[in-house]
Structure formats: C-alpha cells, structure tokens
C-alpha cells in the first residue's frame, strides 16, 4: 500500500497542511501530556482522536484487574474509532505515552460530512479507511493464530492424556507387583509354618496306625480296625440306601447311629461282626472300625494340606520368580491345584503334550493361567468344560490354549478386555488379587510372546498364548 493514495505519511502531510492553512482546524489540535487520558474504558466517546505527533496506547482493563495493552497509536493512527463509529461504550482507555499533539473532531462535525472543514474531508476519510483495513488484517491474522494455537493445545492435551494413562498403567502394574511380592512372602512363611503341623499330623496318624496293627493280626478287632483304615467313604445317597437295607436285614441293629456306621462298612466287616457277636460286643467292633476310619480321614486330610501347601509354594515361586528355564506344564498343574476350590465342580481336562523348556518367570506365568481360569469359572455353570492344551510348534514356538464352553465374550468388548482397568465384574476378581487381563498381557509381552482371545465357533471363549522357546542367555529383561 506504500506510495498509494492510502499511504499514511502522505495523507498525514495533507492533514498537516490543512492545520497550518486553517486556524479553525488548528484549534481542533489538543496537546496531551505524557500519561494524560484521552478517554476511559466504559465511557461513551464523543470525539475521534487522530494522532498528529506523539504516541499513545489503548489499554484494556481485564476482569482480574490487570491491564493489557491492545493497540499502539502512532502518527496517523486513530484512537476511539470503534466506539466512535458504533456508538458503543469504549472497550479501552486511551493514554498518551509521550507529549502528543492530537486532532480531536467532534461527532457532530461528522454529521455534515466534515462540511465545516473541507480540507480535512479527503485525508480523514482515507485515513479511516486505512485504519479499518489495518484492523481487519490484524483480525484475520489473529484468527489464524488462534486456530493454530487451538490445534497445538489439542495436541498437547491429547499427549497429556496419553501420558496420564501410561502413568496410571504403570502405577497399576507396580501395585500389582507389590501385591504379588507381599503375597509371595506371606505364602513362603505360611507354607513353612503349616508344613510343620501337617508333617506332625501325617506322621502321628501313621504311628497311631502302626501301634494298633502291630499287636496281633489274627485278632478280629484288629481286622475291624484294618477295614476302617482301608474303606473309602461313601456318598450320602448310597449311605441312605445301605442304611435302609441294614435296618431290614439286621435285627440286632436298632440304633440309628449304629446303623449308619454299619452302612459305611464293607460286607466282610459286617460278616466279621456277626461271626464274633457272641465273643465281642458289636459296639466294640464298630469302635474299632471307626478308629481306623478316622485315622484314615486324618491321613487323607493332612496329605491334602501338605499337597496344597506344596503347590501354593511353587505356585507363588517367591524364591524363584526370576528368569529360569521352566516347563510351563509344571506351573499349569500347580495353578490347577491351587484353584481346586473353584475348579472342583468344573469338567476340566488337561491335554499337556511335551513342550520344550523355555526361559520364563514361573510365578508370573502362573498368574496368567490363574487369571484366565478364574475368569472362566466366574462365567461357567457347574460342570462347565475347561480345556487346557500345550503344544510345541517347531523348535521355537510353544502355545498354551485355554478354552471353555461358557457364554463367550460379547463381541462389543472383546477388543477391550486386555485394556487396563477394564472389567465386567462389579467388585474385582473373587480370587482376591484383582489382577486384570492387562497384566497377563503385559507378562506375556515381557516373555516375548503374545496373548489372543477369540470366541469359539460353537460356544465359549478361547485364549491362545504363544511363547517363544529361548534360553535365558538370550533373554533380556525389558
């Protein structure tokens, strides 16, 4: 726009000319001292101010009380143009920054198109147009700036969200690891403490048994005791039938408790009682059988305790939760034992074919099996089918497949089940650890493998875990 008819310097020289030509126009020029106000924010403006020589600024007072400089008013620039032309209250306060000469034109003079000052007409109109054009340009530039700022802000906010999510995830993992470490310590201590009484129980039952038996093997009482030891308990349905039979058949058995005890005996034992009825009281023979039975029960129960403790110990692998050459099947078997309580009424089949050893953390992998199995138990009815398969594929790949015949996973959530914090349960896993599939996913990933989940064609869900076969020298923790 330089050298055009809108050049600010050129037009301003016309204004200067007009001022020096006409004392009437010269009288419109006011002198402002530095810091003197032209007008105040919020006031109505009845003059238009044109800077002839000097400098001013338009300042906006914000709601928080601080001031923001909006516009610098140099020679040839207007102040109060917007408020003046729109008739609105001023959005700014005009302040002289230097001693300034300012041409102040009353609103009334514009009514007749500056008819009073013909020499000012043309330059002022051009200057105003020039000013407006400048401001419009500024507006466009600001708009563009704001747009790109918005884009930047959005990007930053997305990055922040992502960072927050990662932080949350790693926090979850750390809490989980802490839980597992605590659990491992607890289990190790607990296992040690429980093993002692379990051993005492087992050995005492054995000793008690030998004490009875070694006396005299031809003694019918000892024989009864022996029957008690060897006879497996029968279910209550069968027991009821046998009790009814005995009530009919044996006239000497009248007392219900006695009948129940007789019903638990094998037929030879009952015959033995009848044979010796004259020499040995029935109650004495029954007592012998009961003694044997209860010692048997002690043995069975304490063996179960010892086995549970053993698998709990190897399951948590507090001592060896480090990279080690492991057989995945050992961990799967331990996990199944630990989950007996959940699995005992499921139709579980293990199809564990030979697989090579691979480098892994047994304790962590066991959590993966646990997690998938507990989820399956949660959705299965009694008698629901669970299948666990291990397979090797060539030299370098192992797969573990866990499938069930439950309701499957709703298609709308199947893609999200490995996300942290994703759960369909109201209050965490019943096993009490609240581990998510996200953690399983992370564990498998750290082992260099991957986990996949799909619905089976017929019914139920299938988790497929693929792990590489590798030695621990090749495994770098990451």
């Amino acid at each position: 726009m330089h050298n055009s008819i809108f050049d600010r310097e050129q037009i301003l020289s016309l204004v200067h000319q007009a001022i020096s030509d006409s004392p009437q126009i010269a009288s419109l020029v006011k002198n402002y001292d530095k810091g003197e106000l032209f007008f105040r924010q919020g006031q109505k403006i009845d003059h238009l101010y044109l800077m002839i020589d000097g400098e001013a600024m338009l300042e906006h007072e914000r709601q928080n009380g601080s001031n923001l400089e909006l516009v610098r008013v140099n020679n040839g620039h207007f102040a109060g143009l917007v408020a003046f032309t729109t008739g609105n209250l001023s959005l700014t306060t005009g302040i002289a920054l230097k001693p300034s000469k300012v041409l102040c034109i009353k609103q009334a003079d514009f009514v007749n198109n500056l008819g009073k000052y013909p020499t000012l007409q043309m330059p002022l109109q051009r200057l105003m147009l020039r000013n407006m054009a400048d401001r419009f340009r500024t507006n466009v530039r600001l708009e563009a700036q704001m747009n790109s700022l918005n884009v930047e802000l959005e990007t930053e906010s997305a990055q922040l969200k992502e960072a927050y999510k990662q932080l949350e995830d790693s926090h979850q993992r750390m809490v989980h690891q802490e839980k597992m470490a605590t659990l491992g310590e607890l289990v190790a201590g607990f296992a040690h403490e429980v093993n002692n009484p379990a051993a005492a129980l087992l050995r005492s039952a054995e000793a008690l048994k030998n004490n009875f038996i070694s006396n005299d093997r031809s003694n019918p009482k000892i024989e009864m005791f022996q029957y008690g030891l060897e006879t497996l308990p029968i279910g209550s349905n069968e027991l009821r039938k046998k009790m009814a039979k005995i009530t009919k058949k044996l006239d000497w058995a009248t007392n219900r408790s006695q009948i129940r005890k007789l019903a638990q005996m094998p037929n030879q034992a009952i015959k033995l009682i009848e044979k010796n009825k004259k020499k040995i009281p029935v109650s004495e023979m029954i007592r012998q059988f009961e003694a044997g039975k209860f010692i048997h029960n002690i043995q069975v129960a304490s063996e179960r305790v010892a086995n549970l403790v053993k698998s709990l110990k190897s399951y948590s692998r507090q001592d060896t939760n480090e990279w080690d050459m492991i057989d995945l099947r050992d961990g799967i078997k331990d996990t199944v034992l630990i989950l007996t309580n959940r699995l005992k009424y499921m139709d579980l089949k293990l199809d564990l074919l030979d697989i090579p050893l691979t480098c892994g953390k047994m304790g962590e992998l066991n959590q993966v099996w646990t997690n998938i199995l507990v989820n399956a138990c949660d959705v299965l009815e009694q008698g629901g089918k669970i299948r666990i398969k291990t397979r090797s594929h060539g030299e370098y790949k192992i797969t573990v497949e866990i499938s069930d015949n439950g309701p499957g996973i709703p298609p709308e959530i199947i893609s999200r089940i490995f996300e942290p914090n994703f759960t369909t349960k109201n209050q965490g896993a019943k096993f009490g650890l609240g581990l998510g599939l996200a953690i399983s996913n992370e564990i498998i990933r750290q082992h260099g493998g991957f986990i996949r989940c799909e619905n089976r064609e017929k019914r139920g869900a299938r988790f497929l875990i693929t792990l590489p076969v590798k030695s621990c020298e090749d495994t770098v923790e990451g």
Binding site: P233, I234, G235, N237, N255, R260, K293, F294, N341
Partner: protein, 165 residues
C-alpha cells in the same frame, strides 16, 4: 410311620461329613440325622421327611457345594413358607462376607459356624437352636430334657403350666 424331628447335614466332603455326623451322634436318639452331599440331594431328603410327616428341626449346611451353593439353598428353603420354622446354620470355611449377609437377611440364618469347629461350639449351637425349635413348635418339652437345654425347657413348662403335658 413314626414321626421325627430331623437334623439335616449338607456337606460335600465325605471326611468332613464323617466328622460332623460323629460329633452330632449324641443327639441322634432324639433327632435322627440325615445327610446330603449337595443341595439337590438335600431337597430330595427334605421332601422325603415331609412325605413321612416328619419335621426338619435343623439344617447344618456347608457353603461351597456342587451346584447350588449353601447360602442359595438356605435362601430357597426359607422362601418356602413350610420350612421357615426350621433352624438354619451355615457351617463353612469359605462363605464371604456378602454371602453371609445374604443368608442372614434372606434365609433368616440362625447361626454361623466357622470351620474348623469345636465339639463344644457345635453342641451349644445345636442345643440352643433345637431347644428354640421344640419350644416354638410346642413339642412336649419333657421328651427332650435329657439332650437339650433342660433349664430352659423346665422354665418354659412352668410358665405355661405344662407340667401335665
């Protein structure tokens, strides 16, 4: 057929069942014991008891059972009005807090015995609840003096002038 007041024990582990029944045998001359290894079986037993015109005085029930669990079984029993008078005890090592609350609120659970139990604890709970049952159902208290809470039964008879029962 002679009418009885039964005790029903529902427990799926046979060794545990053995131990429970053994601990309860002192009651058996007065309250015959029936056993069931699952809720389903327990329901059949309850039907049989009703069919012979007998009563079910007390259920001792484990929580973790094949099929329907113990709490759900008790809740279902309670919802059939005919059995509401039966005393109900949960004998378990495994019922969680919420299951227990459910049983308390919806099955009118009378007592909770944690495994492992002691003979003393089991005896006192069974004596208390069967004494309640005998009094509430207006059975002849004299008959049960030897095995239940004789003091409470005697008090009850005095208060209700039932000495000529």
């Amino acid at each position: 057929m002679e009418k009885h007041i039964y005790i029903l024990v529902v427990e799926d582990e046979l060794e545990v069942m053995d131990a429970l029944v053994n601990d309860l045998q002192s009651f058996e001359n007065y309250f015959p014991i029936e056993t069931a290894n699952s809720s389903e079986e327990a329901k059949e037993v309850v039907e049989q008891i009703q069919a012979e015109g007998s009563e079910l005085g007390l259920i001792l029930c484990d929580h973790v059972l094949p099929g329907q669990n113990g709490v759900d079984f008790l809740v279902e029993q309670y919802s059939e009005s005919i059995k509401t008078k039966t005393k109900k005890v949960l004998v378990t090592g495994q019922a969680g807090f919420e299951d227990t609350i459910l049983a308390l609120n919806n099955a009118d659970l009378d007592h909770y015995i944690a495994k492992p139990w002691t003979k003393q604890e089991l005896d006192s709970v069974v004596i208390k609840l069967l004494t309640d049952y005998v009094i509430e159902q207006k059975h002849n208290p004299m008959k049960y003096m030897a095995v239940l809470d004789a003091v409470r039964l005697a008090d009850y008879m005095r208060e209700h002038k039932l000495s000529d029962y």
